[in-house]
Amino acid sequence: MIYFDNAATSQKPQSVIDSLVDYYQNDNANVHRGIYELSERATNAYEQARDKVQNFIHAKKREEVLFTRGTTESLNWLASTYGAENIKQGDEILISYMEHHSNIVPWQQLAQRVGANLKYINLKADGTLDLTDAEEKMSDKTKIVSVTHASNVLGVVNPIKELAQMAHEHGAIMIADGAQSAPHMAIDVQDMDVDFFAFSGHKMLGPTGIGILYGRYEVLNKMSPAQFGGEMIELVDLQEATFQPLPWRFEAGTPNIAGAIGLGAAVDYLTNIGMPEVEAYEQSLVSYALPKIKKIPGVTVYGPQDSEHHSGVIAFNLDSVHAHDLATALDQEGIEVRAGHHCTQPLMRHLDIAATVRVSLYIYNTREEIDHFIDIIGKIKEYFNREFA
C-alpha cells in the first residue's frame, strides 16, 4: 500500500506503538493523585512528554504546553475562553480564506455570540497569503488574528512571524494553527512570536486523541480554564473553587495519559531524525513529484506552481476524471489519497471548485512510490477516457 494521505493522519512508528503498550503493561496508573510508586511513574512519564513537546516547539516554559485532544479542541478552547473573555461587540477577528473548518467555525460561533466581525485575508493568484490585504484588514478593532501555519490544501507555508508582528502592532494576539506544520518542520514559537500555537499528535506519528495548545505564559496565565474537575482543582467549597497553577489548570479530569506518552515518543522519533532533515527530505520529494504531476495532461495544481515554494501537500484536479472517481480508482491500486473539500469549504468556493484530489507526503514516502503513482494515474485516465457510449 502507498499511503499518501498524511495530511489527514500519519502512520505510527513501532516505537510509538511500543510506548503505549509499555505504559499500559508496566506503568498503568492515574497521574498526579497517587502517593504510590506506580502512579509516580505514570506521572513522570506524562510530564516528561510535556517537556519533550516544550523542547520540540522551543517554548520558554513547560507550563506553556497544554495537552488537548487535538488542534480542533485547542482552537475551540481559545474561542471559548480567551475569545469569550476578550472579544466584545464590534471587535474583529481576522482569519484567512485557506483555513480549515476548525479554525473558522469556532470564530464564527464566537463572533455571532458577541456581535464581533469575522474577516478573511485574501489569497494571491498563486494561493499564498496576500500580506497587503492582511495589513489593510488589520485595525485597532482587530483583537485576534488566527491563521494556519501551513495549508492542508494549497501546499503553502504562511509567514506567521510577519503576521504576528502586524497583529501585535495593532494590539491583537496571534494564533497559528500548526496542524500541518508541526509534523513537517522545525517549530520555534518564540521566534515566530505567536501567542498561541495548536497542533495534533496523530498527524505527527503520534496517537489519536492527543494534541497541544501552546500559550505564551503571560496570556495563558490570565485565561480561565476551559473545563473543570479532577486534578485541575485546588480547593472546592460548596459554592466555589480555586484552581491549580499552569499547566494543570487546563487539564480537567483524567487526561489521555497514554496519548501524551505516545506523543512524547513521536517527538523523540522526529527529533532523532532532526526536523530540518525531515523538511529537507519532504522538500526533495516535492521537487520530484510536483513537476511530474504538472506534466500530466489536463491537470490543474492548486497553490504555488514551483516546488521550492510548495510543501508536501499537493492538491490537484484532472479535467477528465472527477476527484472522487480518481481516488476510488487509486484505492483499487492500493494508493490512498484524499478527495473532497478537505474541511476547507470557503477555500473551495474561493477557488470555485467543489473538490480536489490531494496527495500529502511524509518521511516514509519515496520516489518509487511517486513514480508508481504517476504511472497509475496515466492508466486511470485511459480507463475513464474511453468512449463508453
Binding site: H324, D325, T328, A329, A339, A354, F388
Partner: protein, 144 residues
C-alpha cells in the same frame, strides 16, 4: 493492474451516462420544485428541479458538480421518474435505497438504475449514488 475491479462500479452504461448525462441543464429558477443538495463528505453539489402537472413530474432536470457515479445516478433517476406520479416515485425511491443498502429484493422496477447496485461493493461511494434520490425524496415530501 487491478483496475478491472472498477468495472463493477464503472459499468459501461454508467460511464455513458456520466459522459453524456440526460436531463443535465442549469436551473431556470422558474421550476415549481427546486432543491440544492450537498454531500458534506466530499463537497459535491446537486441542483434538482421539476414541475408538477396533474400530479405527474415533468421537465425534471439536474445540474452541478459531481462524480461519474452521482451524475449517472441522477441521469437514470430523472429518466425513470419523468411522467410518474408521487406514489409511484416514492416507491421507486424506496426500492433504490434498499438496493443501495445492499438488501436483497427484486429491483426490476428501477430499470437501468439497477446497474448502480455495484456501488454496494464500494461503501464510501454509496452516498454518491443516493444523493440525487435523496434530493428527489425531500422535494416530494413538500406538499404544495
Amino acid at each position: 493492474m487491478s483496475l478491472h475491479n472498477l468495472d463493477n462500479l464503472y459499468r459501461q452504461t454508467i460511464m455513458a451516462y456520466a459522459q453524456h448525462p440526460h436531463n443535465y441543464k442549469p436551473m431556470l429558477e422558474t421550476e415549481s420544485y427546486h432543491i440544492r443538495k450537498y454531500n458534506p463528505n466530499c463537497g459535491d453539489i446537486i441542483d434538482l428541479a421539476f414541475n408538477m402537472n396533474d400530479d405527474k413530474v415533468t421537465n425534471i432536470h439536474f445540474y452541478g458538480d459531481g462524480c461519474a457515479i452521482s451524475k449517472a445516478s441522477a441521469s437514470m433517476m430523472t429518466d425513470l421518474v419523468s411522467g410518474k406520479n408521487r406514489s409511484q416515485i416514492t416507491q421507486l425511491v424506496e426500492q433504490f435505497s434498499k438496493m443501495a443498502r445492499g438488501e436483497d429484493g427484486d429491483f426490476k422496477s428501477l430499470g437501468e438504475a439497477q446497474i448502480l447496485s455495484g456501488v454496494t461493493k464500494f461503501p464510501t461511494r454509496v452516498k454518491c449514488a443516493t444523493l440525487a434520490w435523496h434530493a428527489l425524496d425531500e422535494l416530494l415530501a413538500i406538499e404544495k
